[in-house]
């Protein structure tokens, strides 16, 4: 009789077999294979059988590889730009949208969220037209509205990271707005009313009441933002492909270029492991820092 609640082990495993096998095959087998390949010299022209073991050579090269580290710091740049831009702007806009003065909240929600449902490839293509040095919308605006001169935008190696981060930030502001919005909606309205009685202004209420009350949601947003930007690839690939030169390379893009355009699969595997280690380190490290920094706020 209890077979329905405590089914036979064989039935449970029969149900689990396909999903678990698929998951191991697609996630853990490749990870281990990448680790294995990373100890081999395996360049274009070589096959899996003619690749030869070269120990830690790939890793030594990786540690000394300035392009790899530049890519890593570009990822960090994106993470910081997007934390400030996405979560920061989203927070301010949510406060605005939450005030009694705002008109058309539902429209802001629907319109604002829209870009996050579009593929990063499309976003990248649209923005490369917007940024275009000759026919771009932005240059049209600069010339005809601001009366300035045409800029090269994505061709400007000194500022290209700033420009590629704008579409990334813009795409997800609405997404974080909705998350923060639902968190703020969960706060007891009386708290805001008493703050108002006590004479707190909007800014004070935002910093001292709203932000601490939605701390756990902000943490979720931070994690999403960090994890999302450590794997930035699609939109940068379509906008600049890493250029000009190496100025807008990110780790995933560098890994792709080395592995598939230069056909250096051995070194590409070492980069893959580098991406794995550094991404986990940044995500874990940031969690640790945030937990320590907010520990004082617990009580």
């Amino acid at each position: 009789m209890l077979q329905a609640i405590k089914p036979k082990k064989s039935i449970v495993w029969l149900y689990l077999l396909i999903p678990v096998a698929l998951f191991i095959f697609s996630v853990f087998v490749p990870l281990l294979t990448a680790l294995y390949f990373s100890f081999f010299e395996w360049k274009s022209g070589q096959t899996i059988y003619t690749a030869f073991f070269n120990g830690l050579t790939n890793y030594k090269a990786l540690i000394a590889d300035s392009i790899f580290w530049k890519s890593f710091w570009n990822n960090i740049y994106l993470v910081i730009a997007c934390i400030v831009g996405q979560i920061g702007i989203a927070f301010v806009l949510v406060l605005f949208a939450n005030s009694k003065l705002a008109v058309g909240k539902a429209v802001h929600r629907t319109f604002g969220f829209f870009p996050s449902t579009i593929s990063a490839v499309c976003i990248g293509l649209i923005w490369s037209i917007i940024f275009h040095s000759k026919y771009g919308l932005l240059n049209w605006f600069v010339v005809n509205v601001l009366g300035g001169t045409k800029q090269t935008w994505l061709g400007d190696s000194a500022h290209v990271m700033l420009y590629v981060s704008i579409p990334l930030i813009w795409q997800y502001i609405g997404y974080y707005m909705v998350i923060l919005f639902s968190a703020i909606a969960g706060i007891d309205q009386q708290i805001f009313e008493s703050a108002e009685i006590d004479g707190a202004n909007g800014f004070q209420t935002a910093i001292h009441i709203t932000l601490p009350m939605i701390r756990s949601t902000v943490l979720v947003c931070l994690t999403l933002c960090i994890a999302g930007n450590m794997k930035a690839f699609d939109s940068i690939w379509t906008m600049t492909a890493g250029g000009p030169g190496y100025s807008s390379y990110v780790m995933a893009l560098y890994g792709y270029t080395v592995s598939f355009q230069q056909s250096n699969l051995g070194y590409g595997s070492a980069i893959s492991i580098g991406i794995f280690v550094l991404s986990l380190a940044v995500i874990g490290g940031s969690q640790w820092i945030v937990k320590r920094a907010t520990r004082g706020l617990e009580d």
């Binding site: 899996i48 605005f96 058309g104 319109f111 026919y135 049209w140 813009w170 690839f233 592995s259």
Partner: protein, 297 residues
Amino acid sequence: MSRKQKVESNFKPAGHGHKSAGHYAGKIAINVVLWLFSLSCIFPLFWMFYSSLKLKRQFNADVISIPFGNATLQNYTDILNNADYHLGESMLNSFRTTGISIVLIVLFSFIVGYILSRIRFKMNRPLYLMFLMGMLIPIHSLLVPMYVLFRNLGMSNQWYTLLMPYVAFGLPMGIFLVEGYVKGIPISLEEAAAIDGSSFSRTLWQIIMPLCRPILVTVAIIQIFSCWNEFSFALVLIQNVHLQTVPLALTQFKGQFGSDYPLQMTAMLITMSPIVVLYFAFSNQIIKGMVAGAVKG
């Protein structure tokens, strides 16, 4: 209630006249900022739409003007009549890949999520941890080995190639959403079913699954967007133009018609249309689903 009345009695008489001037300035400022943002989110769609009705020459002469009077459907007929562009083909590929992936993700998430939530066995927590770890592994560290494995097993460039990574990477979030949801269903339901003689499988499919409908819809919503939009795996595992998914076809398109922006915009609009229609038809449910997935997953 009494507190609310107090607020009003405190504020209104005190500085009503003074407040209204600042009140209107504030109202205008807040709404201008909000509307600027919202319109910026929707403007590209609008811009792409009316630019798709222009020819390259018209667009290059003036990138912003609306083609009143001389709108043309030339770009659309070009794209739809020329099989070399592979756009229709790529949309079919995307529909197939997304559709099958969603069904499998929902099905497997339901099974694994239910079992991990309800059945006690030795491997329960290890399996849970394994799926949790899967969420943390950056997909770009798996591209090279996947390419090599799929190549050597003859599994790249097949109609089913992308299903495996899509389903595998869609599973963790689905499993966690289902697992959390099943915890909220009273176990007495399954006990009653068991007493009535229902087998494990029967309870699973006929009693639990209908109850899980809302969360399974959420899982499906999240995955529709991520499968339809996925690019990295497609780029590495698919070289055959006849098997390209939409994002891949669009980047190819950019390579071929790099300077014909209205044509590119037309291609983007056509391939975006299913997602755009879906989004504006069900935006409330979609937003709720995506946010639930982000916060709980």
